[in-house]
Amino acid sequence: MDPPLINESSFSAANPAAYSLAEIWPFGGEPGGLGLRMGNLGGGLGESSGNRDGSLEESTVTEQSGGDGRKRKDVSSEDESSKIVSTSSANGLKDSNGKRMKLDGSRNENGNSKAEVETNSVAGDKPDEQRTKPSEPPKQDYIHVRARRGQATDSHSLAERARREKISERMKILQDLVPGCNKVIGKALVLDEIINYIQSLQRQVEFLSLKLETVNSRVNMNPTIEAFPSKDSFDAAGLLFGSHAPREYAQGSQPEWLHMQVGGSFERTT
């Protein structure tokens, strides 16, 4: 992470030419990470040189965070050239900056879909934040979104990583749902536990339906319920439990209804 420091100083030296950077910016209204970066730059450019430096440094840092050794070297060499040129003339700086941004753009293209999606959501409020707090919090966002050091940056592996994160998140949700699953470590074992739990639940349903069948037929023998004539299909509860139930659940709120039906009103009718 040494090159950015050099880079920063070089760009702060070339401050007067900064406004033209926005003009030659080739990737105008593109959404995604690129757009965000442009926002950073733009925000910085509108402000004093100190701010601009912050944003620039940040962008370079984040670019490099995902890159491998070769890419970093690329950037640093580019920076070197820009530094040289910037001391000599402003036009040169424009060119080199343009080149550099192009370079970034191309790198961004084989970057990630996930980053695009996530930065899209943040992109709106980003430049304002930039103005107030130049350096630190957005940097974290960036790095969080993009690949960490040593991780692959091509779109496939990024997508795969996002998928894995999603899966592990859902696994956690499932672990919370399945009792006794929190202690289990390892995805395979957790899956086993989940499968067992589902199977046990399904078995329970089977068992309960058997039980309900016998109970239902026994209740069927009870003449009072059959004597209750209700053609309305919505009054199934009334059909089952006699005339008390429907009135009650029409009055109360729904949860109460269930409670009452299962609890109080039923015993009266049978």
């Binding site: 998928r163 999603k166 899966i167 859902r170 696994m171 949700i173 499932l174 749902l177 399945v178 995805k187 395979a188 899956l191 086993d192 989940i194 499968i195 739990y197 589902i198 199977q199 639940l201 399904q202 329970q204 349903v205 089977e206 309960l208 339906s209 058997l210 039980k211 309900l212 069948e213 016998t214 109970v215 239902n216 037929s217 026994r218 209740v219 069927n220 059959e226 299909s233 919505f234 199934a236 509860a237 059909l239 089952l240 729904q254 949860p255 209804w257 269930l258 039906q261 299962v262 609890g263 039923f266 015993e267 049978t270």
Partner: protein, 164 residues
């Protein structure tokens, strides 16, 4: 009937109460219907009891799926399957047999990873899971588990109070 419909933001969130009530209502209704149908033939041979309990089980699953509605994949798949079974029973059966054979072949052939194996097992358990990717399968599984557990609870409550 105004129990608030739950808005699923992340898909997994579910208002268990409203779901439970919807399920309970539907299930009680269908129980009553089953009882009505059963009246003329009040014989109780082993086979008939099994058939009837199976009917109740299907009614329970059906009412759960209806209570959840079409917003989840598993309930949609289940309803679709059930409808197809009602319409073309022979066709569905044939398909099922074929599928079973294929699956067993696959399982015997592949020395696939344990992970995939379990994923496939889960796919069989969750309705409509065969056509899901693993990610959404997990999501659906979470929802399915909550629904199943509420179903079990409600059925348990009904059975308890009917048998008293």
């Amino acid at each position: 009937m105004s129990s608030s419909t739950t808005t699923t933001t992340s898909g997994v969130t579910l208002n268990p109460k409203s779901c439970r009530i919807k399920f309970a209502r539907r299930f009680l209704r269908s129980l009553a219907q089953i009882k009505k149908q059963k009246l003329p033939s009040s014989s109780s041979s082993e086979e008939e009891i099994r058939m009837r309990s199976k009917g109740i089980k299907m009614a329970a699953y059906y009412s759960m799926a209806r209570a959840v509605g079409p917003r989840m994949n598993w309930s949609r798949a289940f309803l679709f399957k059930l409808r197809n079974r009602v319409r073309h029973p022979k066709l569905v059966k044939k398909k099922k047999k074929k599928r079973v054979i294929m699956r067993s072949n696959k399982a015997s052939r592949s020395v696939s990873s344990v992970h995939m194996d379990r994923g496939n097992k889960l796919r069989e358990l969750v309705p409509g899971g065969k056509s899901m990717d693993f990610c959404s399968l997990l999501e659906e599984t979470a929802h399915y588990i909550t629904c199943l557990s509420t179903q079990v609870k409600v059925m348990q409550a009904i059975a308890d109070h009917l048998s008293k």
